[in-house]
């Protein structure tokens, strides 16, 4: 990796938080005049790497090199003096100050110790013209669109640093035209020799402007590739799976003798959230949901559960047309939902394991038919045992349990309500191997008992193993429904990337 034309380089950078290795010996090099995309699912280590490169974190091992020389970056301001500037998704400028002030904050031209506004605005005007922005520099920054603010932020970062520009999901809140405009700016900057790191979740954008791509997964470097030599499918494959076995095609669960239809969604959707979709779910069927982060998987789950109610389409439960306006409606029809963010939306950290297990059942029973302590203990004990929850006591706060056991508690919570339909959003994310196996076993057992399930997961081999059918989400739209034989993770990856050019069975 002794490539002397790297303007910014990380060599063997390792970052450890507690006993969690966030970055494991990452090598990353950035050349001048290139746009380098940094990809990875949540928790892959992208933001940690950026924070090391900008001095917000100090690496525990390895080092950061600027122009081939080892540097110690104390903080982002210090990184700026080395020519490294960052623009974040949320523009962190001052909306109620003028554009010019935002550009030169902390570096205002002064005259007799006072800010020389005229000089500053003149400089701002020339600067902004270089970015094709003909706006009044004395206007409030907040009066402009997010895209303009984004460009102002970029102009400021480039002006202050000038060698490396890091763009952390700059397009997340922009519409299509704004994205194009931003890309023009990026292309210009690239031509002028700036090195740019571009972080995004959108593959199209990666292919539109990047020269090289580096993929991280679970804190490890997967690979750095020249983008003109890889296909979209390759990139998705790099992002998602270490052990996606393309050789041994796993068949989906053989088509079962048709059972009764439990749920029928017809052009069910919600504006600005999920495009209308059709989906029929039978009893004893597991629908796997695949898609990249931000593809609308979680939104679909929340829509089905009534957490974000649908504004179009119809739903039929066991043959009866019905309306699900909120979670209470959903639960009363036998739905259950294990959310992706266990800590923020799943567990009640300070409440006991017992209370965490019985709460949905109690919610279903209502305010006045309270389960007494003995009944609670019996229910919690029964499901705790069935799910093999490892807790010293059912009366200990659930926050003291491990992630895997917390997930089992949430699953038990819904099983206690005797549901007909369960939605599991990333049920196996971030939990230990033992709990992982237990949850997969439970999914299989429940399916065999006739429960209908929708399981969202990034673990493709796992999805293939227990699903009867797989639907694929992309850009908040259900783009494919895969069924039958010869479904393997490779086919799913292709459906996600939608590269029709290299179709496989």
């Amino acid at each position: 990796m002794q490539d002397s034309d790297y303007v910014l380089e990380a060599r063997g950078v390792t970052k450890i938080f507690g006993n969690h290795t966030a970055l494991d010996a990452i090598d990353f090099g950035l050349r001048p005049g290139e746009v380098h995309a940094l990809l990875g699912e949540n928790g892959a280590g992208k933001s940690t790497l950026i924070k090391v490169l900008t001095g917000a974190y100090q690496p525990d091992a390895g080092g950061v090199f600027v122009d081939g020389a080892l540097v110690t970056l104390d903080n982002p301001l210090h990184a700026q003096t080395h020519g490294i500037g960052t623009v974040y998704q949320e523009v962190n400028l001052l909306p109620n100050r003028s554009v010019a002030e935002n550009l030169y904050l902390g570096h205002q031209p002064t005259r007799f110790g006072l800010v020389d506004h005229r000089k500053m605005e003149k400089a701002a005007k020339t600067l902004l013209e270089r970015y094709g922005l003909a706006i009044d520099p004395s206007s409030d920054l907040g009066s402009h669109s997010v895209a303009v603010q984004q460009i102002v932020a970029i102009a400021r970062a480039v002006e202050l640093s000038g060698k490396v520009l890091i763009l952390d999901e700059p397009t997340a809140s922009l519409d299509r035209n704004e994205v194009e405009r931003l890309f023009e700016v990026i292309a210009d900057l690239k031509k002028s020799g700036l090195a740019i790191i571009f972080i995004t979740h959108f593959l199209d954008q990666v292919f539109a402007i990047s020269d090289r791509v580096t993929v991280l997964r679970n804190g490890r470097l997967v690979d750095t590739r020249q983008l003109d030599s890889v296909s979209r499918t390759d990139v998705v494959r790099l992002m998602l799976g270490k052990d996606i076995a393309f050789s041994g095609a796993t068949d989906l669960e053989p088509e079962r003798p048709t059972t009764d239809v439990l749920l029928d969604f017809k052009s069910y959707g919600r504006k600005r959230s999920v495009h209308p979709f059709d989906l029929t779910i039978h009893k004893g069927e597991v629908i796997g949901v695949a898609g990249l982060l931000g593809s609308g998987r979680t939104e679909m789950a929340r829509l089905m559960f009534g957490a974000d109610p649908a504004d179009q389409g119809t739903i039929t439960v066991a043959g009866k047309p019905t309306a699900i306006r909120n979670t209470t409606d959903a639960i009363s029809r036998g739905f259950g939902f294990c959310p992706e963010d266990r800590k923020a939306e799943g567990i009640f950290g300070d409440l006991s394991v017992r209370e965490n297990i019985i709460i949905a059942l109690q919610g279903k029973l209502g305010w006045f038919r309270a389960l007494n302590r003995d009944e609670q203990l019996e229910i919690a004990g029964k499901f705790g045992e069935a799910m093999d929850i490892r807790a010293a006591s059912l009366d200990m706060p659930v926050k003291l349990l491990s992630g895997g056991n917390q997930q089992k508690v949430i699953l038990s919570r819904w099983l206690a309500t005797d549901p007909a339909f369960l939605i599991l959003d990333e049920p196996t994310r971030g939990i230990d191997v033992g709990a992982h196996a237990e949850i997969v076993r439970t999914i299989n057992r429940l399916r065999d008992d006739g429960m209908a399930m929708v399981v969202i997961s990034s673990e493709l081999d796992e999805v293939v193993a227990y699903s009867s059918r797989i639907v694929v989400m992309r850009d908040r739209e259900m783009v494919a429904e895969l069924r039958g034989k010869n479904i393997n993770p490779g086919v799913i990856v292709q459906a996600i990337a939608n590269s029709a050019d290299e179709a496989q069975p």
Binding site: F337, I359, A360, K364, D395, R413
Partner: protein
């Protein structure tokens, strides 16, 4: 059984109460003397119960609010409004029960307004209840037309100064309310749901708890309790003082709840312990008054207690304690 008993004795609130009472007794040996006179009990201890009753009543309602991670700053002002309603109505010649029921209804309406702001409009509780805290006194002044409305209605006065089985009426009302509310939250699932909302409202909604309805109810209960306290205080002084009735009592009520072991971060709560907290505060007040210190001292001691309690609740202290005894937390506030 024996261990349970010991555990209950080791309860920090009861220990604090015992400590304050002990200090009072040391300063004033006659503190525990209770006499029977004219069919009622007299003594410093009875006085503590009587004077502590309004804050105890407020604390009963406040506990539920704080357990949902909220706070109700408007209870003092609601007291003034409801006292004014009751007083002006009896003066205008309405029968006492009508006046009392009207005052209680106004209190509930105030609580519903707070609940609407917090649960439906999603305004932060401290801001939402600040509205009525400020506006409430204005409303009370409009009702009393700027003067102190005095009355001679014996039935209404009885609520503030009468006695039942020898105990002061205010304390009896507080006790009855305590029992009622405790039964309501313990014998139904409401207590559990309140805790669930306080710990994690997003998760509560996903678990099918009607968190908005429950939040509105909790604030309505707080308004109801404030109305009772307002009537008691007005009846005690035989008049409605829009400016001073219940002034700053919301802070005492919050302090009582916090002393009672309910965290301002929501979650676990105990209504009886909040009442104990109110009694602790009153015992302190009485003790300081009897000892002859200047009343300013009272406020300083209170401030000191708040600091002490916040320190104990801080993550730092939790770390310190938890490391020493990893006993599973006690199940539910029974």
């Amino acid at each position: 059984m024996k261990r349970l008993h010991l555990e209950r004795l080791a309860n920090p609130q009861l220990l604090a109460l015992a400590g304050v009472l002990l200090i009072n007794w040391l300063l004033f040996p006659n503190f525990f003397r209770i006499t029977w006179q004219d069919g009622r009990l007299f003594g410093s201890l009875i006085d503590v119960l009587n004077r502590g009753a309004p804050v105890a009543i407020l604390a009963i309602g406040m506990t539920g609010v704080i357990a949902t991670k909220g706070v109700d700053l408007s209870v003092g002002a609601i007291m003034a409004v409801c006292g004014a309603v009751a007083a002006t109505m009896v003066v205008a010649g309405y029968p006492t029960p009508v006046a009392v029921i009207a005052a209680l209804a106004v209190g509930i309406a105030c609580g519903l307004w707070n609940g609407f702001l917090v649960a439906i409009l999603d305004i932060q509780p401290i801001v939402a209840t600040l509205v009525l805290m400020v506006a409430g006194r204005g409303i009370a002044q409009l009702i009393t037309e700027g003067s102190i409305v005095t009355f001679n209605d014996p039935a209404l006065i009885f609520i503030g100064t009468g006695s039942f089985l020898g105990f002061p009426m205010a304390a009896v009302i507080a006790l009855a309310l305590l029992i009622l509310v405790t039964l309501l939250v313990r014998k139904t699932a409401i207590g559990l749901f309140i805790q669930a909302i306080g710990v994690n409202r997003a998760a509560a909604s996903l678990a099918g708890i009607r968190s908005r309805m429950l939040l509105v109810l909790v604030y309505a209960l707080s308004g109801f309790c404030a109305a009772i306290a307002g009537i008691v205080v007005a009846a005690d002084i035989r008049g409605a003082d829009a400016n001073n009735s219940g002034l700053w009592l919301e802070l005492d009520a919050i302090l009582a709840v916090v002393i009672g072991g309910t965290s301002l971060l929501g979650g676990r709560f105990s209504v009886p312990m909040a009442v104990v907290g109110a009694i602790i505060i009153q015992a302190m007040n009485t003790g300081i008054l009897m000892s002859g210190f200047p009343p300013e001292f009272n406020l300083i001691v209170k401030a000191g207690m708040i600091i002490l309690i916040l320190l104990i609740q801080s993550p730092f202290a939790t770390r310190l304690f938890v490391r020493q005894r990893l006993v599973p937390a006690k199940a539910g506030p029974k």
